[in-house]
Symmetry: C2
Subunit: 307 residues, 2 copies
């Protein structure tokens, strides 16, 4: 069974680990968000692609939800002494990823190529594809000006008001090689429990990807990142609010309605089920907050079996 | 007393520490070799400038003679796992220097500017000047082809035969701002016990610097890097041989003869004194192998007092 997953960062990592424990990794393709890619200390950092790769390689720091397990931050301390911005934490081992990527991009390799190489070197058997090789930046409009996603989320700790979100560069972008084909030929497409505005939204903003989701014969199944009126993690609520989406599984379904067949929602949200059905999305009630590795695998199996 | 020192890498570090302990750092200008600058993992590395800066800041690893004390190498291990070349050891804290320099150069700053900033941030009071802001590369000709200095010295461990040495780019280069003025207005110019071919040679190859040494009214005093027919450290012997220079204080004097007033030589080489005098260089016999911090300072004071 060929499984394609649309993935953002920390929210997706848990379900991806569960999927990787349930299907052979060679049958799994992950399409990752690059809208929050950024430049730190002159290096090209792809936070969501790295979280996906590290999660599938089993080397993600599970507690933090980003970066590598058993990481050290000696370079960061030295950068601070040089007066550099250090609000974005780059660990010493993690730096090797960004150095390798930056050098490859400067030498003219595509983001797809270097992402595949980094994943292979980390021992990942699944295919990790950036949504696009073209530069797309998720920009957060605030009363004080525009911020990149990392400036908003990491530097400002998501504490500033959001008045809008733009996917800069998306209209002129094309999907990376393999993205549209993977969706069209999949047996199952999974939308991970990621932020619909800034994790999955940028993927859908790349012309051709939403069409492929609409046209694929594979069922498209999502897991809600919203439980009980709040995001399980991260700033999804404020961003959904800025987009005029209700902070509930209904808001998630509304973002994906034209092509989403089924949405897994938490037992605490089961009252939403009739409204979801009215949007044309089947509601599937389960325990969706993944609190353990066993739970990640159980939820992944639920997604795979109930497609 | 304004002191100017021409400096290479490890050989120079000890005498510079001694000089910095003997004169106020604000009166000390170091002109550093950039001929062994290289690109590692996409980063601009200036090994000799960094050794000078780290030595003056008191943070050099004295045992190794390069890099930072109490360094870790976690990024290097991760780079090895990605299949990168790791023959050049970049430590985690040291990486901050190369990241800062690379970014500044990419943004259009000169090597002089970023070298001054790095030194100031490390707490160095002396002025550290690269010999030039133009790219100059010391290339080692071997029977198997041309190598950069770091490839020859670090990767090949100086075990390949040397048939010649070129300072690529030197003819078209100009001295960095301040270099010629510092030499002309100095009260004393010190040539550190550095390799005359690949540490001091590239500095002298920059048009205008040798002229300034010839024309300055300051005494120019050297400390021999050769003791008892061998280099105190590093590959100076093989490189001097390739240049047709005898492996003795006489070879050192011959490289600097037109403008060197005095050369400190070791007691074991005192028989060279008459031949040095015939080259027009005063021989100054002392214990020049610096085995302790106290010895570094004593030798520096000897240089300062006997000018």
């Amino acid at each position: 069974m060929r499984v394609v997953a649309l993935a953002g960062g920390t929210g997706a990592a848990k379900l991806l680990r569960g999927l990787a424990a349930s299907v052979p990794q060679r049958d799994l393709t992950v399409i990752g968000n690059t809208g929050d890619d950024t430049e730190i200390w002159g290096l090209h950092v792809s936070p969501d692609l790295d979280t996906v790769t590290y999660a599938l390689a089993g080397i993600l720091d599970v507690e933090r939800g980003w970066g590598l397990a058993d990481e050290t931050f000696h370079c960061l301390s030295a950068m601070a002494a040089y007066g550099a911005d250090t609000w974005f934490n780059l660990g010493d081992r993690d730096l090797a990823t960004h150095l390798t990527r930056t050098r490859a991009l400067r030498e003219g390799q595509s983001l797809s190529m270097v992402t595949a190489r980094l994943a292979a070197r980390a021992g990942v058997g699944a295919r990790v594809l950036p949504m696009s090789d073209d530069p797309i930046r998720t920009m957060i409009r605030t009363p004080g000006g525009r911020l990149t996603f990392q400036e908003y989320f990491v530097r400002e700790k998501a504490l500033v008001e959001v008045v809008g979100v733009d996917y800069e560069g998306a209209a002129a972008a094309t999907p990376a090689a393999g993205v549209v084909d993977a969706i069209r030929t999949a047996d199952l497409v999974v939308v991970c429990p990621s932020n619909p505005v800034t994790s999955v939204g940028p993927i859908l903003a790349v012309p051709g990807i939403a069409d492929a989701l609409r046209e694929t014969t594979a069922p498209v199944v999502g897991v809600s990142p919203i439980v009980g009126g709040a995001a399980v993690s991260g700033p999804a609520a404020a961003l959904m609010h800025a987009r005029g989406l209700p902070i509930s599984p209904l808001g998630v379904a509304a973002a994906y309605a034209p092509w989403l067949r089924r949405l897994l929602i938490d037992r605490s949200d089961r009252a939403c089920a009739p409204d979801l059905e009215r949007l044309g999305v089947a509601a599937d009630v389960a325990d969706i907050v993944m609190k353990s590795r066993a739970h990640e695998t159980a939820l992944a199996r639920h997604v795979l079996e109930r497609r």
